[in-house]
Structure formats: structure tokens, C-alpha cells
Amino acid sequence: MSFLNSEITEKIRTLIGLYPARQAVTLPALHLVQDHYRCVPQAAIRDIAALLEVSPAEVHDTMSFYGFYKTEANPLGKNRLWVCRSLACELRGSEKVLEKIVQKLQVHPGQTTANGAITLEEAECIGVCEGAPCVLINDVPCSNVSLENVEKILDNLQK
């Protein structure tokens, strides 16, 4: 009995045809699963492993290397808000922005708000340094974040 729904399973099967080795679909499959379930459940690891003809341990080995993927114990909220802490951002006030976000959301980096709307994280450089300080909302950057406009950004994510 498979845990993954048929849509994700089909997508993984299609991806397998694009690569010379099945294992190469590990990251793409983990992305599909995490996008849908907001984490990578143990049962999904087993299903991915079966589809890619590798052991579940190999999928888990890869997954756990990238701090990006979440386990069932700590799933993502509806949105992932990454606050960049790289040198370019820190020089232009990212620490103060993060402090304000922490106060406003009442969560620390790595935690999710009680209503499940926002998971707060610190990011290493997100490559939008001309707009520092910047944050990444899921995978879309938001530039020139300030103590003034950050509340509006958070309000939009709470909706």
C-alpha cells in the first residue's frame, strides 16, 4: 500500500525517464513530497526508495544532508520565510529585521507560528544583495526589507 498519492507517484515515474540513473530523481522527488506534505514523512521515504530502486536508508542519507528537508516532527508551515543573514544583508540591517520578525511572530528561527502560517528560518546568502536586506518568501525574494515595511510582509503571509 503506497503512501504517496497517485499524482506524485506519476510525476516521479516521469522524472525517472529524464535521468541516466534512477537515484538522480531523489532531490526532485523529495521536492514534490515536501511541497505537498510540508515535510518528508517516513512512509514517503520508503515509497521514493521503492520507485528509485534504492534503499530507504540511501534516500534518508541524502535527505538529511540538506537541512532544507523537514521531518514529520517539524513540518513546514504554510509559508517558509527565510531571513538572509549574509554579510551583504547584515551590513544593511538584517539583524534588526530578524529581531523585529521574532518579536512580531513570537517564534525563533526554525519554528512555526502557532497558527501554522509561517515557518521562520535564517538563510545563508539568497543572492539578492543589491536589495539587501532581503528575505525569501518560499522561493520568491523580497528586497529592501525595513523595520517599516516588514509588518506588512508578515501580515500578508498570515492571511
Binding site: 529524464l18 535521468y19 541516466p20 540513473a21 537515484q23 538522480a24 530523481v25 531523489t26 532531490l27 526532485p28 523529495l30 521536492h31 528509485l52 534504492v54 540511501e58 542519507d61 541524502t62 544532508f65 540538506y66 537541512g67 532544507f68 528537508y69 527565510w82 543573514r85 549574509s86 554579510l87 551583504a88 547584515e90 551590513l91 544593511r92 539583524e95 534588526k96 530578524l98 529581531e99 521574532v102 518579536q103 525563533h108 528561527p109 526554525g110 535564517e122 538563510a123 545563508e124 546568502c125 539568497i126 543572492g127 539578492v128 544583495c129 543589491e130 536589495g131 539587501a132 525569501l136 518560499n138 522561493d139 520568491v140 525574494p141
Partner: protein, 447 residues
């Protein structure tokens, strides 16, 4: 000298610059169609070799030479990987190219693949670049529709398939063999070389890995010629054996304490000072610069007095930096503490060390802890010597790690302490300390 006209960034302000329609209206893909008819793959390799193009990703390896490392008459398949895992802090040139002119990038990719006779290309884009990923994905789809990808491209015998691949937020994937391991679905642990990827790379087949800006330069060289490319930049320095010179245009990122953080395209070899004063419009708030980094934080730290060096492949080395790197300049003003700058840099490497080689895994986190201790007011003078010692002992140059990213972790530490020792000592002696903001300071140093 004639005024320099940007070429790589020429189209970024055009309306719908990312669509194949505007790209072709601006003459796009003509170079590819012509090259498939007029050049043999070998001639295209020679063209790029003769241009003196060196990789834009950080190491500056001559691109054409890299291509010649592929085994001759290999039965195939040969793979091409595009390294769009631009993760070096303060660097964003590849992002802008992919978002604003993805077809320029893609035409460069197809030309490069034809030159090395690759049958498949994997375009590995870091996860954080969502809009860039989608722009490239759309470009690939449109190129298939118009017959620039797929079977028998534009009626030629050459066929190529492109696969978009998304990373998962790890700095190490920018190292070419780390990228290959990640692409194969494994943890991104760099491989021991040799064999180099050109001999045994992705899926154990000969593989070329090139950066986004590098392939965009290939497209421009095909269109505008070797003479154009060599008409700008810095010729080889005869005093340096086997120096390949620093030719062509370069995308420079400017960030940090400047009035106008931006991306500019200029002939290779502009000075750090001109870049900051003219294009960055000077240091912000009427202040003076204390120092900066020349090409991403892994290239080391410079003092303001060193800003007159040219940003070509040799310039940063003359002031003890590791190299040109990604040519991403970040400036910090005279009110910034060097302790804070180094703390930020060390935190990055402690977090991003992949953990495969003990000297890097342990060295980066101990350097971070020591700088953190200094920053919190508990530093000892001898810590500075220990930091220098650790910095000197991690990397491929001292021969203790598999990949060169460890050299980049140690370099800013060595540079900062050598060039700003007085400030560190004053900080330690004065018992200065930073008040942690809401207890975030030491959090999340490593996975």
C-alpha cells in the same frame, strides 16, 4: 578608448526580455544556427580556447582548455552540467542573467554542448532562485518548441536534451564534483580528483561543468568574435608563468555599505576603488570605507588602502587575497567592527562546511566559536594566533581537504587577522562585547 557598451546585460531592461520572441527579434539564436552549419565542434572549442575565456564561477580555469580534457573519440554519452548553484555570499550575477535573459544563457549552453558534443545537459539551479529557475524552465520549453533543443537541432545532425534540476540549499553544491554528487541524488560530498569530471563525471561519464556567466560569454564570443573578446581586459602578465590573462567583459556585483548596490558589466580589470566610487556611487552616509571583500567572502578581506588593485584574475592575489572569485565586491564602512565582519563570515562557513573532511568540518566550527568568544568579550590575545594557525591548515593548498572551498573558509580569517590585527587586539583588550539580539547569536551554527 571607446565607451564600453554592455553586452551580457544589454537586454535586461527590454520589456519581456525573458521571452523567446523578444530574444529572437534582437537577433538571438542566429549565432547558434550559423555555428551548427559553419563550425565543426572542434573549431568551436578552438574559438573559445583562442578567446582566452576563463571560467566565471570563481576558479578562473580556462574554459576551452577544460573542454579539451574530454577523452578523444569517446563513444558517449558525454554530459554537460550547468552550475547555477550560485551560493557564494554577496554574488548575484548569474541570478540576474537567468531571470532577465534566460535565452542568452540557454543559447550559450547549447553552443557549449555542441562544442563538446554533449547529448544531455543538466541545468542545476540552487533552490533559492525560484524566479530564475522558472525563467530557465520556460526558456527550455520554448527552445524545444522552436527546435533549438531536441532531435536534429535546426536540421543539423546534432541532438541535445536539457533537464532542469533544482538544488536544496547547500553551498557545497557549487563545487563541481559536489554538484555532480548532488545531481546523482547523493549527499553533495566533493570527489577526490583525479579523475576530473571531464574524464569521469556525472553518472561516471565524461562531463563538463560550467558556470552561467561563462556560457553566456561563449554565446557572445560566437556572435562577436575572438578579437572583440580580447579587445578588453588585461593581457597575461609575463612575470607570472602560464598566466592566461583576464580577457572579456565581467559582471561585477557591488553590495554592502555603498550608496548604490548594483550589478554592472565592465571590461575585466577595473579597480575596486572605481567600482565603489563610480558605480556604487561611493560609501553610504558620507562615511569612509574601512575595507571590503573582492569576490565573495571566500576570497578574503582587503583594507581600504588596497582598493586600487585591478579586479582581474591576478589583482586580488597581489594583496594576499585568494583570487578574483566571483568578482562580487562588498564594502564595509569605518564604523563597522572587523570582529562583526569576521564573525559573520565564520558563521557562514561553519554552517556550510559539508562535513566530509575533518580539518574543514572541525576547523570552520572552531574558528566560528573562537571569533564568537572574542566578539562576546571573552577573547584572549593568543586566540588570534590560533585562528591564523587553523586558517593556514585547512584546504587543498596545505593539502588537508578534498575540495578548495576549505581554502576559502580559512582565507578571510587569515586576511582579517593579518590586516586588522591592531583592531582585534584593541577589541580584546578593551573588553568590548556585543549584546546578543534576542539570543540568536550562537544559534544554528551547524546542522
Amino acid at each position: 578608448m571607446a565607451k564600453f557598451e554592455p553586452v551580457l546585460l544589454k537586454r535586461i531592461a527590454v520589456d519581456h526580455s525573458d521571452s523567446i520572441g523578444t530574444y529572437m527579434a534582437d537577433g538571438g539564436y542566429r549565432g547558434l544556427t550559423r555555428a551548427l552549419k559553419e563550425y565543426s565542434p572542434g573549431q568551436l572549442v578552438d574559438l573559445v580556447k583562442n578567446s582566452g575565456l576563463r571560467g566565471r564561477g570563481g576558479a578562473g580555469f580556462p574554459t576551452g582548455l577544460k573542454w579539451t580534457f574530454l577523452p578523444k573519440d569517446h563513444p558517449g554519452p558525454i554530459y554537460f552540467c550547468v552550475n547555477a548553484d550560485e551560493s557564494e555570499p554577496c554574488t548575484f550575477n548569474n541570478r540576474v542573467l537567468m531571470e532577465k535573459d534566460p535565452h542568452q544563457v540557454l543559447e550559450g549552453i547549447i553552443l557549449s554542448c555542441y562544442a563538446v558534443q554533449a547529448s544531455k545537459v543538466f541545468i542545476y539551479v540552487r533552490y533559492e532562485y525560484g524566479p530564475a529557475y522558472r525563467a530557465m524552465e520556460m526558456a527550455v520549453r520554448q527552445a524545444y518548441e522552436k527546435g533549438f533543443l531536441g532531435k536534429n537541432i535546426k536540421g543539423s545532425p546534432y541532438s541535445l536534451d536539457a533537464v532542469m534540476h533544482r538544488g536544496a540549499a547547500a553551498y557545497i553544491c557549487g563545487e563541481e564534483t559536489g554538484l555532480i554528487e548532488s545531481l546523482e541524488g547523493k549527499r553533495a560530498w566533493p570527489r577526490i580528483k583525479p579523475p576530473f569530471p571531464a574524464v569521469e563525471g556525472a553518472f561516471r561519464k565524461p562531463t563538463i561543468v560550467n558556470n552561467i556567466e561563462t556560457v553566456a560569454c561563449v554565446k557572445q564570443i560566437v556572435d562577436l568574435g575572438v578579437d572583440w573578446f580580447k579587445s578588453m581586459g588585461v593581457p597575461p602578465n609575463p612575470a607570472i608563468p602560464r598566466d592566461a590573462g583576464s580577457y572579456g567583459p565581467k559582471l561585477y556585483c557591488i553590495s554592502g555599505h555603498v550608496q548604490n548596490p548594483c550589478l554592472v558589466e565592465l571590461p575585466m580589470g577595473i579597480t575596486m576603488r572605481e567600482l565603489i566610487d563610480v558605480h556604487g556611487q561611493g560609501v553610504w552616509k558620507g562615511r569612509k570605507a574601512k575595507g571590503g571583500i573582492p569576490g565573495g567572502i571566500s576570497m578574503g578581506v582587503m583594507t581600504e588602502k588596497e582598493f586600487d588593485i585591478p579586479l582581474d584574475f591576478n589583482g586580488p592575489g597581489t594583496v594576499g587575497c585568494l583570487g578574483l572569485g566571483t568578482a562580487a565586491v562588498t564594502v564595509f564602512d569605518d564604523q563597522t567592527s572587523i570582529v562583526d565582519v569576521l564573525y559573520n563570515i565564520c558563521r557562514f562557513f561553519a554552517h556550510e562546511s559539508c562535513g566530509q573532511c575533518t580539518p574543514c568540518r572541525e576547523g570552520t566550527s572552531w574558528m566560528f566559536k573562537m571569533v564568537g568568544r572574542i566578539r562576546n568579550g571573552h577573547g584572549r590575545k593568543e586566540d588570534l594566533n590560533i585562528l591564523e594557525e587553523v586558517g593556514n591548515q585547512i584546504g587543498i593548498m596545505p593539502g588537508t581537504t578534498i575540495c578548495g572551498l576549505a581554502d576559502g573558509a580559512g582565507w578571510p580569517v587569515k586576511n582579517a587577522i593579518r590586516k586588522f590585527r591592531q583592531e582585534f587586539e584593541t577589541y580584546i583588550q578593551g573588553g568590548e562585547s556585543r549584546k546578543p539580539l534576542v539570543g540568536l547569536q550562537m544559534a544554528q551554527a551547524s546542522h
